[in-house]
């Protein structure tokens, strides 16, 4: 059974008085412990889909089933409770946290809101979460703006896994990181997926990264699905025009390997 099933999703916006379809008749499924990548140029609807799936914005049409239940039917307290199972990591880890927050507060929120640990137990849980993502528990006392970009993204991942979700939406989660840090974060994500069987909706414009971590890929163009399939098969032999253009535009490192 799929963790997430999206069918015929649509979202229209008005730009300069004219309606335009940001997302148009998009359907896909993600299974447990699977990584599905959404690729496409800017304006193709990747991030809109992420926000629709997370109910940060509401679709004009379509259906979202999460863990076998109609996710769009939920509202109020029921929706907030369900959010524990569906988390997100943003592109810019600095913008994703309250500028006044400390690491401890950021990790305390999900534990407190979903009643996962009593007030007395929470510091221990926070320390365990930090260790889980490869950070020193002493970091808990630091302000978010004091730690490095890579550490911040680890804290973001710790917050996302605090509520033991079955799906995490990663919206360009490694795009702003240095290549060396990026590799470590991707390793961490793969580790978590293997151990906790988390599914990822992996949004990226970088086919190299997608090829490295995704099982399947959906390539979007102007809000519609251009093609989809096994990540490596699609990238090796794209069928759609936009798929071919994306592959052709990806910079290649031509090294004469020994």
């Amino acid at each position: 059974m799929s963790v997430l099933a999206v069918s015929n999703l649509a979202k229209r916006y008005h730009r300069g008085g004219k309606p335009f379809a940001a997302v148009d008749d998009v359907s896909f499924e993600i299974g447990p412990a699977e990584t599905l990548a959404l690729a496409g140029p800017s304006g193709s609807g990747k991030s809109t889909i992420a926000r629709l799936v997370l109910r940060l914005i509401e679709p004009d049409a379509g259906r979202i089933d999460f863990e076998g239940a109609d996710f769009l039917a939920l509202s109020g307290a029921a929706l907030r409770a369900r959010r524990a199972r569906l988390q997100m990591v943003f592109q810019d880890p600095l913008a994703a946290f309250n500028p006044r927050a400390t690491v401890a507060r950021v990790l305390d929120d999900p534990l407190r809101i979903h009643g996962l640990a009593s007030r007395a137990e929470r510091p221990r849980h926070i320390a365990a979460l930090l260790e889980r993502v490869g950070l020193d528990p002493a970091l808990a006392a630091r302000a978010i703006h004091e730690i490095s970009g890579g550490q911040r993204q680890r804290v973001a991942i710790a917050r996302a896994i605090a509520t033991r979700p079955s799906l995490i939406v990663l919206d360009e989660a490694v795009s702003a990181l240095d290549v060396s840090v990026r590799a470590q974060i991707l390793e961490l994500l793969l580790d978590l997926q293997r151990q906790e069987r988390i599914a990822y909706l992996f949004i990226s414009h970088d086919l190299g990264v997608i090829r490295a971590v995704a099982h399947r890929v959906v390539i979007l163009d102007a809000g519609r699905i251009a093609e989809s399939g096994d990540a490596r098969a699609v990238i090796v032999n794209p069928q759609s025009a936009i798929g071919k253009a994306l592959v052709a535009a990806t910079p290649r490192l031509t090294r004469n390997r020994p």
Binding site: S42, D178, A183, A249
Partner: protein
Amino acid sequence: MTALLWIRDLSVRYRHDGVEVPALKGISLDVKAGERLAIIGESGSGKSTLALAVAGLLARGAVIAGTIEWSARQLQESHSVTPERQPSAVDGNQTPLLGRDIGFVFQDPSSSLDPVMPVGRQIAEVVRTHLKLSWRDSCTKAKTLLERIRLPHPDSAFHTYPHQLSGGQKQRVAIAAAIAAGPKLLIADEATSALDTIVQAEIVALIRRLVAEDGMTLLFISHDIALAAALADRIVVLRHGELIELGETDQILNAPRHAYTRALLDAHLGLDAEPLLDRRGASA
């Protein structure tokens, strides 16, 4: 090849809350006339500081040591129309003028374009300021430039405002403004980082073509080693403000001397690299 500029023992420190933070530590390198030189590094490597230092754009709080000397002959060759030049008080060399001798393209085109002026006029202003042409001739030259950067509908493009253009089109206009006065050196500081893959490839192709057509020297600042390698003749690798390695692109890619360069190359996730999923599968 003769050098366009010599950078000798360049150090830059920024003052931050009363503490001086080093951004560049004793960088020495020659930029050859007509070459495409890429400067790569991760955040905090000092690559943008180096670009700003060459362009003379460093913030006033920056403490600069060392010298950047420009070849008088190379600068003269670029403009026959500008006879009057001020010799620099510091080293007796000629001081290049930003906009006329150096074109600078920033990462975010929105911040370098005036939002309330049609793009054609913005380019024409650069032409008039630096080439001392009449407004009519400046506009004609601006129109030619808009054709060269291949905006759709170059005739109406002259009168469009930046907000009517896409990110890639804005960057094209910013490039047109940067090369409008026929500079000898074009500096592109992460000029494609805010753009998606396809537009990035188009902008890189545009820069490559314009640099070749005008015989410009290119300083290409990037965090992406593959992108830099696709464009540059030589590559400079910076890390924590220090020059780690400088070499021909081919040598950097295939025979890197420094472990850090190798690590950067290995961390690159290209379309031909071994997927992490597989590495994991093999080890688990």
